[in-house]
Symmetry: C4
Subunit: 288 residues, 4 copies
């Protein structure tokens, strides 16, 4: 919840209206993760989310839809009403409802329920229902509260620190793919499926990333030599993002591990997280 600019009169923690006790306890159940009711709430919510997404997915299978149309209709409304109630409870139990609405998860919560109502009002917009699979994103909120937090944080921190390197890598990949795609457009011509540069670039992406559908494949010897070059390059340069991320992850992991404390006697740092004595001079370290 991104705080609005606080008014100077109230202390920051109490900003917004003060919640009545029952709303306070509702808040701890819905937004918290420590108490037993909060854990049960999270579990029920995860199961509901997974079931509702499964129902959306299976509802798109035409054979199933024909046989169980009624069932899918009811399940759609059941989950929509359930998430509507949950959304209302979140709005009630939160101190600043408008801030919650504009937050990332507030928008996701809203998108989880609105397509069914819209489809009820305007029956034409069938594809809007797909938005419902975004409900899956809501599980990440529960993840945020749990013991997975630190793990996810390490992964994200390493990703954001290697962000610049990855952008340089991505631009290089794009350039390679466009240059080689254009080359193949000239070399192969439209018989083999290379009908335009965008299509050739699409083929180059399919090849460089080692996906290789095979719907478009070079036919001429020269085209196959160029394709081989792209493949070996794609096989080799996958080392670059992997190397970047491994190195960054090791660095982040090491920072976590190493005791930030300096020895009070010799001032040396770099002790292990479980060290009680300085490894260079033997002076006791403060136990933290």
């Amino acid at each position: 919840m991104k705080p609005r600019k606080p008014s100077p009169k109230k202390p920051r923690y109490n900003e917004g209206e003060v919640l009545s006790p029952w709303r306070e306890s509702l808040h701890s159940i819905i937004f918290g993760a420590e108490t037993r009711p909060a854990k049960i709430f999270d579990l029920v919510l995860i199961i509901s989310i997974v079931c509702s997404v499964l129902s959306v997915m299976l509802g798109s299978v035409s054979t199933l839809h024909e046989r169980f149309a009624q069932w899918f209709f009811y399940s759609e409304w059941f989950f929509t009403l359930l998430f509507t109630v949950e959304y209302a409870l979140r709005l009630i139990s939160v101190r600043r409802p408008w801030l919650y609405c504009r937050s990332f998860f507030g928008i996701v919560d809203f998108l989880s329920i609105i397509p069914t109502y819209l489809n009820f009002l305007f029956p034409g917009i069938k594809y809007m229902l797909i938005v419902r699979v975004l409900r899956l994103l809501r599980v990440f909120r529960i993840l945020k509260l749990s013991e997975y937090l630190s793990e996810a944080q390490i992964l994200m921190q390493a990703l954001s620190q290697s962000c610049h390197k990855i952008l340089v890598f991505l631009y290089t990949v794009c350039t390679l793919v466009i240059v080689f795609g254009s080359l193949m457009y000239v070399v192969e011509g439209s018989e083999a499926g290379f009908t335009s540069i965008p299509k050739s670039v699409y083929w180059a992406i399919v090849t460089l990333t080692t996906v290789g559908y095979g719907d478009i494949a070079p036919q001429t010897p020269l085209g196959q030599i160029i394709a081989s070059t792209i493949m070996i390059m794609g096989y080799g340069i996958i080392a670059v993002p992997t190397g970047i991320y491994s190195a960054e992850l090791l660095k982040v992991g090491k920072m976590e591990e190493i005791n930030n404390q300096a020895c009070p006697d010799c001032g040396e740092t770099g002790h292990d997280y479980d060290a009680s004595f300085c490894k260079y001079c033997g002076h006791p370290l403060d136990s933290d």
Copy 2:
């Protein structure tokens, strides 16, 4: 062998009935790995397992089955009887047969022999015979006893320590695959093979993991742009599990490297290679 709650009267090591000498030596041959007969037993067992699985595999090739039906029938019974004898010997030579039966390898051993008997009694359940390939799992028991133990342990330890990170990664992959699959279902429609969301999700998995069968492939320009995004993402985020596992393996490997010297005073290990003093009690370490 998971020990049952020991009765307080007997020392723990001797719990269960005392084995007679010939059963004791049978035990050391079958369950041990140090003596020469034990090694020969292991070798014969590995060869039998590999041959029996090869026989099951080749027996499913219809041209071979027609010509050598007799041969496959005999080999099936030969290996089944062999493994039955082995199973009986294991039951005899072990102190607590029931515990062995319920252990992981006990169940695998049982599953190795039972399908042939069941097929004899109820000839209809042909596909039950496939269970016989699980015999391959039995080789891991022999691995457990050998010099590969520590290697396998390092690999498993790194895997189990990076377990949480990998689960976070897997959930992210699942979300990506379902969201992009649904998007492609809307964008491509059923002409290109995206007939339902589950099928589109299957296609998204095929693409993200860079497998790329090509049985379903996007046809519209917009679909190909989305597909390119998925491919580049799949090409990039393979860095994540690799980075996680490399970092973890390095950490586990480093632990192996450093714990050679125990503190002469408190006996603690795990000091860095450049430590001069025990990090737990401050006693000087021997410089080696």
Copy 3:
């Protein structure tokens, strides 16, 4: 700009003619990156490059070309004239125009504009136009000036330091691919598409790099066994370039980390993070 052998009479920094003030400021706008006009110039240039390449790409799509032929014609000349003006300005504002012309980016700049003029003079050479996508390379010049410089340098340094290892790896891959390709040519024969050794080698590259188009696929059992071997090898030896690059990147990254403290006596850097004495002259380092 690679300096020519300087004449001994002038100081090196002032070699070439002295620029008049307006050319000096033009130089700082076009070749610099710090001032506000220089940043605006770079931004406009990047947008022009991307738009012109998009126009080239879309112009190759026949349906679009038919409908918007006029539009593509005008955009081609618009961007060509724009880049021609830019090229002229670069020639004017630089001290030694001839050196600039022969530099890598000078050639790329020239190749960005020449195909349109050539096509105007000799209308036959249609495919020459493809050269225009090389304009994408020009973005790397702007990259060179920006905050991405150090990131790109680290990636390149690690690449150039692991260059020998990667060449050994590439030669091994080539040998494997040729040997296995020849083997498959003998084993499979021309029914399955293995019509010649070069084609079999192409197939082996497609398989080893895990691209797997499926346009050529082994049909005989022996061929499928050999193919399986190549696949598992390809799956395994991707570890080699990844390992090489990860290790090199870690080493380069570590060098960045450690050289913060210079020896107060001899000024040498590159000490380890836990060093107490200068490793070159033995003078104590400040503990930080």
Copy 4:
């Protein structure tokens, strides 16, 4: 050259007959790499090897073979005679010809020339000619003598040290592939191409290694769910060999870098390769 058990009378270096001066200098040209003639010899040899293999490869293309049959015939004999002369010179210039013949490279040299002669004597055995591509292996001998030696050695050392871990990994992959292949044989049946267990296992390898030809692809929903599992597993467990090899390469690289020398004063080790003074006590290190 693997030395035979030396007779006790002669010093080891001079074992075998003493070479006459011209054979000594021939030896240094053919087997050495330092002198200028040796370098020219190596260069000519590499070019000949590459040209001869290219000639073998192109000779298998039927259109080229028809037009240039004469040319391929002459080039075949030219290279064969060239390598025969080289083989004879190696036999002459080496102290113990028989040992050379039985060494790895002696056998490769022999296999490089014998197919052409055999084909001349027994014209039927056409496919024997394929053996000639093994000539490519001979380039590794020249590699062994050059500056690439240490690079290749580091790669090989890391590979051999991670050998046990990789074997455990490979056995696990084999088990997975056989178990999942058998499962798919039962689930999919022969309509979708899963006609036997070996074929299903082949499909499982194609899928797990992310090659994905698409000649066999699951059709039933259950089959596609299992296939998705295999793909995600394959996508994930590629982290295992990569992690193993990266960790091992880092370890090997670190050993090379670190000065093995212990400080003469405090006995500490782990100094950098360019350190002149102990980083812990400031005592000068012996310069080696």
